[in-house]
């Protein structure tokens, strides 16, 4: 008998003013004592809803509409809240997606621990009677997650994001639960901090022996940490395999697509692929295989017959082709062969010919003075940074949050002026531009934003967004601007353009929005493009698509691009040159493969060590 047994669990959202959505559809799985299980899926696949259902924390309009959840043999699917209470946290604890807000803001950390112990007088540590010293026990727990005991006296707002997440983890371990459910526990934290927390988690899990259900969209991390990985798509589990097998011998075409979007940036040749299309709309009735419209190997029956999750290889797979094949691997080999060339994006090691730079930053330093209270504080955001951007080339700027990346972008685009040093765009001194000259300069330098949902005005159509730079910078009239807008949409792969011109942003998917954002940046025919983490908010399966688009545009049009990121993989794919920034100082700079392959600076190495290595743990 498994520790957690989920059988045919369905969760339906029935909002008042729109159609019901079955977010989780007849899902069955087990988690065994001491096992580390990863649940992998892209945004909207139902993985978080599934987690919330297992925790029995669903709120209206979502509700469990079928199936059962058994914990240690006991059915808890419909257990009333009052009975459930004594089981909570003792059996199953959790760390939420964003712990920014999961601690009560008006009570101290110690108080939050005390609350937990008081709610479970019979649980761990209280067993021997009333002898539990809350302070001592909470202190021990904090030390487990590498926090100082003094944190007990602090309020949540006095802690950094990483510290809060550690507190949340310590809190989850307080009663020595048998299963810990982690829902994207490190999303939003800095890469290095993420790495640190996850390493600690794995170590504690091995030491204390609790089971883990780890929900994440981050494929590399899941593959590396988990013993077993389940892949979820459109409300269903489509594959369930031991992690090592999932890396090398996955069977489902969707798993193959997901894994294909990941690669090790240190390899000689790095190749990534993407899955075209979008997940189905679950408010509509589904027939056949849900992945069929995006599947490269689908056959006619896939459209009509819904596959079941059946044993295959060392786990389970939901695919008709695998079901029918004598050698399931052959299906995937076929898939790989069928995958069209534009679905794969590869970067080799060849260097490109250097051209004359369009922008030169020389010895730039930026100091901020903030007056808080009586004594002014001086912060040096950027210190003595020099580099050049060349047409048709991509320069990646890599660094932790707070390393000065954004300040450099602001200096480059003329939003701010440097304290000292010079920035020249061809013959223009960017650091001395007046208001009007700045407007002119911006014709030549454009931005691609991180969040495609915030980069487009929700009330303005695509045509409007694209027409503004055309009319302002190129002096076009309305009709000309519309024609050009359509051309631009075709350029970024939104075709036929007529279908998109009059759409509002919310009618587009994340990837489509990002394409519109890129089209807008291209509109005034800029010579310089600053892209600030343009793929970090997108789903893994379409990231490579956007990287490929950016790459093509830059090369074809001879645009110089500054690519700001903390993701070394995309930097490796796109950039000719990499610069590493740490605390405002450029600590490393050189051809991409050189910097990533043989990092010298300790900070660059930390960044590299923070990159997940799927399958690495199984190999050693």
């Amino acid at each position: 008998m498994a520790l957690l047994e989920v059988r045919d669990l369905s969760v339906t959202y029935s909002p008042r003013d729109s159609a019901a959505v079955r977010a989780v559809d007849r899902v069955s799985f087990d988690v065994h004592e001491g096992e580390f299980v990863g649940l992998l899926g892209e945004s909207g696949c139902g993985k978080s809803t599934l987690g919330t259902a297992v925790l029995r924390l669903l709120d209206r309009p979502a509700a469990i509409t079928g199936g059962s959840i058994r914990f240690d043999g006991r059915n808890v699917t419909t257990t009333p809240e009052d009975e459930l209470r004594s089981l909570r946290w003792v059996d199953l604890s959790t760390v939420f997606q964003s712990s920014m807000n999961s601690l009560n803001p008006v009570i101290t950390v110690r108080h939050q621990f005390a609350d937990t112990f008081e709610a479970h007088p019979d649980a761990f540590g209280n067993k021997q009677g009333k002898g539990l010293d809350i302070g001592a026990r909470a202190g021990e727990l904090l030390e487990l997650v590498a926090l100082d005991r003094s944190v007990l006296r602090r309020y949540p707002h006095e802690l950094s994001g990483g510290m809060k997440q550690r507190v949340a983890l310590a809190l989850a371990l307080a009663l020595e639960p048998r299963l810990v459910l982690l829902d994207e526990p490190t999303t939003g934290l800095d890469v290095v901090v993420q790495r640190d927390i996850l390493d600690r988690l794995r170590e504690l899990q091995a030491r204390l022996g609790f089971a883990v259900l780890f929900i994440s969209h981050d494929l590399g991390t899941v593959m590396e940490l988990a013993d077993r990985v389940m892949v979820m798509y459109a409300g269903e589990i489509v594959e369930d395999q031991p992690a090592a097998e999932m890396v090398t011998r996955h069977l489902h075409p969707y798993s193959a697509g997901l894994l294909g979007s990941y690669a090790d940036p240190r390899d000689e040749v790095v190749k990534v692929e993407f899955i075209p299309g979008r997940p189905p709309d679950l408010s509509q009735p589904q027939q056949g295989c849900r992945f069929e419209p995006r599947c490269p190997v689908a056959v006619d029956t896939c459209r009509t017959v819904h596959p079941e999750l059946l044993p295959a290889h060392l786990g389970e797979v939901r695919c008709l082709l695998v079901e029918q094949a004598t050698d399931p691997r052959a299906v995937l080999d076929k898939a790989a062969a069928l995958r069209s060339r534009d679905q794969v994006f590869a970067a080799g090691a060849e260097a490109r010919i250097a051209a004359e730079p369009v922008l030169v930053m020389d010895g730039v330093r930026k100091v901020y003075k903030t007056r808080r209270g009586l004594s002014p504080t001086v912060t040096t955001a950027v210190d003595g940074v020099s580099f050049a951007l060349r047409p048709g080339q991509v320069t990646a700027l890599v660094g932790q949050s707070g390393s000065g990346k954004t300040t450099i972008a602001r200096l480059l685009t003329g939003v701010e002026r440097p304290t000292s040093g010079t920035i020249r765009f061809k013959d223009t001194a960017v650091d001395q531009l007046g208001r009007r000259a700045l407007r002119k300069y911006r014709r030549h330098v454009q931005l691609v934003f991180q969040d495609p949902f915030s980069a487009l005005n929700p009330t303005r159509t695509v045509a409007y967004a694209l027409s503004r730079p055309l009319r302002n910078h190129l002096g076009m009239n309305a009709a000309q601007a519309r024609t050009r807008a359509a051309e631009l949409l075709e350029t970024v792969g939104l075709s036929p353009a007529e279908q998109y011109l009059d759409k509002l942003p919310h009618q587009l998917s994340g990837g489509q929005r990002q394409r519109v954002v890129i089209a807008r940046a291209l509109a005034p025919e800029p010579e310089l493009l600053v892209a600030d983490e343009p793929i970090s908010m997108l789903d893994v399966s379409i990231r490579a698509e956007i990287v490929a688009l950016l790459d093509k545009l830059v090369r074809d049009r001879g645009i110089a691009m500054l690519y700001i990121t903390h993701d070394l993989l995309s930097a490796r794919l796109l950039a000719d040159e990499v610069m590493v920034l740490n605390h405002g100082v450029m600590v490393e700079r050189g051809p991409t493969l050189e910097v990533i392959g043989q990092a010298k600076d300790p900070y660059t190495r930390t960044l590299l060590a923070a990159i997940p290595r799927p399958g690495a743990r199984q190999l050693t």
Binding site: D17, R439, R442, A455, L456, P458, T459
Partner: protein, 300 residues
């Protein structure tokens, strides 16, 4: 305090408007039952006010009837101590309340939007100064200020009442609009508009204001409601225009004219009741807008 998801509302409204020919915001409001009732009630009040000469049997100032009579066939709600028809006054009173609500509501909203937008968008010293005035406007006791202003005014009239209400009522709306624009101005699409070469005025008018429509409508409804209440209160205290028929003046006269002692309950009850109904219609409409803007308050 919750930040209101005005962008979301705007999107829903745009989506709704696509289906039918009516404006999107109206479709959304109409779908909400409470809101629909409120809109119908308000429409009825507007109709009565516009058609007052047709609806009312007599003029509001005609005082040729027997004084202080109870309800009868000729005078449905009786007559005043001066011999005027209560029902006719009630009908004409709707005009005053609606005019005050509309005009003072509009003026207040315009000031609140202007101050809020300027403070929030420009920031820096301008913001510091304007914010101080907003906060000052919030803490100064409103009715005493109204009374003092009305007390100094050389002439009493509806215009004065409207001005007094506007001067004392803009601060709350301005504060909310300032907070909203501060979150909106950091959006990437604002930066994008700057890089697209748009001017500040254009950015405010075309990028920011459309996203604040629902907030502005809610603000207007609140201000209109406050203005109607304030006018009734001031008129009841005898600080209104004695020449204008309003529900506040009617209550004032009912209370002075001995409606309490002569048992003319209709004269006393009716003006308060219609005032309550008008306020109810506004409240119901606000329910619809609120529920849309704040997902936490949606009943599900």
């Amino acid at each position: 305090m919750t930040s209101i998801d005005t962008e979301g509302v705007r999107v829903t409204a745009l989506a709704a408007g696509r289906v039918s020919r009516l404006p999107g915001w109206f479709v959304i409001l109409w779908r909400n039952r409470k809101c629909r009732i409120g809109l119908v009630m308000l429409a009825a009040f507007v109709a009565v006010a516009v058609l007052a000469p047709v609806v009312a049997p007599y003029g509001p100032r005609v005082d040729e009837f027997a004084a202080s009579t109870g309800p009868s066939g000729a005078h449905w709600l009786g007559t005043t101590a001066r011999g005027e028809d209560v029902f006719s006054q009630l009908v004409y009173g709707a005009r005053t309340s609606l005019v005050v609500g509309l005009v003072a509501g509009l003026l207040t909203t315009v000031i609140a939007v202007a101050v809020g937008l300027t403070a929030g968008y420009l920031q820096g010293v301008v913001d510091e100064v304007l914010s101080f005035f907003i906060n000052l406007g919030l803490v100064i006791p409103v009715l005493p200020l109204m009374i003092v202003l009305a007390g100094y005014a050389p002439v009493k009239g509806l215009g004065l009442i409207i001005i007094v209400i506007t001067v004392t009522g803009w601060a709350f709306g301005a504060r909310i609009k300032r907070a909203q624009i501060i979150t909106l101005r950091t959006r990437d699409y604002i930066t994008a508009a700057k890089f697209a070469g748009d001017s500040t005025a254009r950015i405010i008018a075309f990028e920011i204001v459309p996203n604040m429509i629902s907030l502005i409508v809610v603000g207007f409804m609140g201000s209109a409601l406050g203005a109607i209440g304030a006018e009734a209160g001031l008129a009841f205290l005898g600080l209104g225009d004695p020449q204008t028929t309003s529900w506040g003046t009617m209550l004032n006269q009912a209370s002075l004219g001995g409606a309490l002692t002569t048992g003319q309950w209709a004269w006393l009850v009716a003006p308060g009741l219609v005032l309550a109904l008008l306020i109810t219609s506004f409240t119901l409409i606000n329910f619809g807008i609120d529920a849309l803007s704040n997902p936490h308050l949606r009943e599900d």
